[in-house]
Symmetry: C2
Subunit: 357 residues, 2 copies
């Protein structure tokens, strides 16, 4: 065997070997109806023999479409985004599209660069969740300017006219608190996030709505913002549990905070869920392994990824094929689900909660 690099086989090689024109080879490989079955069989056999691989670069250039989706997320290795990416990948695979992944690392500058990269790569569609630093959206306009489809998800700019996919934070909180009430808890404390972020504002509003709808009265000091981590949650829970009228349940907008509450309860020898109910948010992996296991709100992140990609595949592509018109921007909301585990199951104890996959 000679050592020199063997060049990849091209349709021309197949054409020469079979004794037909390259254009016919192309049509045969693409299974166009204008080629005889006989010839297709011949061509396919020769292609296999020559170890021919289709050259996407060339085809993309010619076609002007790349069958590639680009996705930009703040962090690839945060469980929420990793799950979303897994969902997107699955849907892309089903639709025979490639996936190029960029991470902004929460930097506006890197996000702009990522957009630039994806435009250069000629992707057909960009799926993006904005970085924390992102305040302007000129770079998103660039995407549109280059006739590339755009779908925003989770961290979105509502003011920018694109398809959008978000969680139902408010409704999810509402349901979480409703669940606690259904279990007989009456004095439900709330540990929120920084109130200036829409996400946390919504989660708080859902709590307030559920309390309001139930007719329960909650003291002001049961509602505390900006408690996302374990340690502050533990400290805050201890303060509340000291009170004469202490909470009998906690709804926290973070699972880490729920963990802190759990520790505080243990310190006070309060039994969970008998004396104290707890439900967190995000359905982190550890909620399944604590003792007791922690109830939580699942954002169904993998499903969210699938839905995001499907906005392109089902909605945009179909529209383009059928009427060629640009459809108005979609606003989709992914329904969260309440994962009931031990920490909030005072009645009708369940085994084997639904798993989020």
């Amino acid at each position: 065997m000679p050592k020199e690099k063997k060049k990849r086989a091209t349709i021309r090689d197949i054409a020469d070997a079979v004794g037909i024109a390259p254009s016919s080879v192309s049509k045969a490989l693409n299974d166009l109806p204008t080629i005889s079955e006989n010839m297709k069989t011949l061509v396919r056999a020769k292609a296999r023999e020559l170890n021919y691989k289709h050259n996407s670069n060339a085809a993309n250039l010619r076609r002007g479409t790349s069958r590639t989706i680009g996705v930009i997320v703040p962090k690839i290795n945060v469980a929420f985004f990793a799950d979303i990416i897994a969902g997107i990948e699955q849907t892309c695979f089903e639709n025979d599209h490639r996936l190029i992944i960029c991470q902004s690392d929460e930097s506006f500058e890197r996000e702009v660069q990522a957009v630039e990269t994806l435009i250069q790569q000629n992707v057909d569609c960009v799926l993006i969740s904005l970085s924390q630093e992102t305040k302007t959206t000129d770079h998103l306009k660039e995407i549109i300017n280059h006739n590339i489809q755009l779908v925003q998800f989770d961290r979105v700019d509502h003011a920018f006219g694109s398809h959008i996919l978000v969680n139902d934070n408010q409704e999810a909180s509402f349901k979480a608190v409703q669940h606690l009430i259904s279990q007989g808890y009456k004095k439900i404390a709330f540990f929120g996030g920084p109130d200036y972020l829409p996400l946390y504002k919504e989660r708080k509003q859902g709590y307030l709505d559920a309390i309001g709808a139930s007719g329960l009265t909650i003291p002001y000091n049961f509602i505390i913002d900006n408690i996302l981590k374990k340690e502050p949650a533990e400290a805050a829970a201890i303060e509340l549990l000291k009170l004469k009228t202490a909470p009998d349940a906690f709804f926290t907008v973070s699972d880490y905070a729920a963990l802190g509450v759990l520790k505080a309860a243990r310190l006070y020898n309060k039994k969970v869920p008998e004396d104290i109910g707890i439900i967190g948010f995000s359905n982190e992996a550890f909620t399944e392994v604590t003792s007791p296991t922690l109830s939580s709100v699942s954002q169904q992140s993998k499903k969210m990824g699938r839905e995001t990609a499907n906005v392109y595949f089902n909605h945009v592509l179909n529209q383009q094929h059928t009427d060629g018109k640009v459809s108005p921007s979609l606003k989709l909301v992914i329904e969260s689900s309440i994962i009931v585990r031990e920490s909030s199951s005072r009645k009708n104890k369940r085994k084997g909660p639904k798993k989020d996959s």
Copy 2:
């Protein structure tokens, strides 16, 4: 504004606008020394004005190289692989390469398809961690046959001649057990994985080596295979703790198993780390939030991702540039680090363990 799709600007558009040849525009934009600074400035200004974006597809086709890396992992949304991908992405970004991600979903068939896809995409290099189903490597040979570089990581076929990057499982276990011994634990039990997998065989050997080196004697029944989850670990630990001569420490090859041991210890009112020492493996996120926090072996997955990509960027590319020779296959081992937390810190209690990022 007219509604028709505006075409992307090309180098020809710039050429016409500036009044020079397209080839000169290309050279100017690529900053080749053969073009005057004056002209470069002119061209760049016009490019910006026309909102020109480089077309990677065209350039790749012409150059025959895509500046794109392909990566195939079993699961995108498993923390270990998500971290590895984050590391790979970071290194690709630093080296101005794109990243195409495929997941085999532990299916051999999908892995073969992913390889096919990446060859078609003309990637310059494939980074792969094999699926559980993968027993043959003809598809890897295909990669080589198409002059594409190949680096295997973590789940590798040692027999296949490619660059390889793996963890130091055996050495890591050795160090973990050594750590327990240094803390004064003497009767150290081992909960392993399925013994037929090399990974777990290595971890077990490391344990045995450390015990052997220390001169300690361990009863046979302290060594139990195939305990990876929480519940079996809890049950097994309970059985051991019942004994007259019970273990005073547990090394488990999974953090979930460590969690089960922790629960068993709590049941027996054994204090951790005073009465019982525990160290797990993988440094899962939850090890930081349990009470007490769990010591664990960190595989430094993000670093592993960076190193994997760097095999291509530092080693392969450099070799190609300097002497053009194909270098022999590299075998790299990533050193794990012992993350000492509360569950094994009987002496010299530390605060703030090193974080794995």
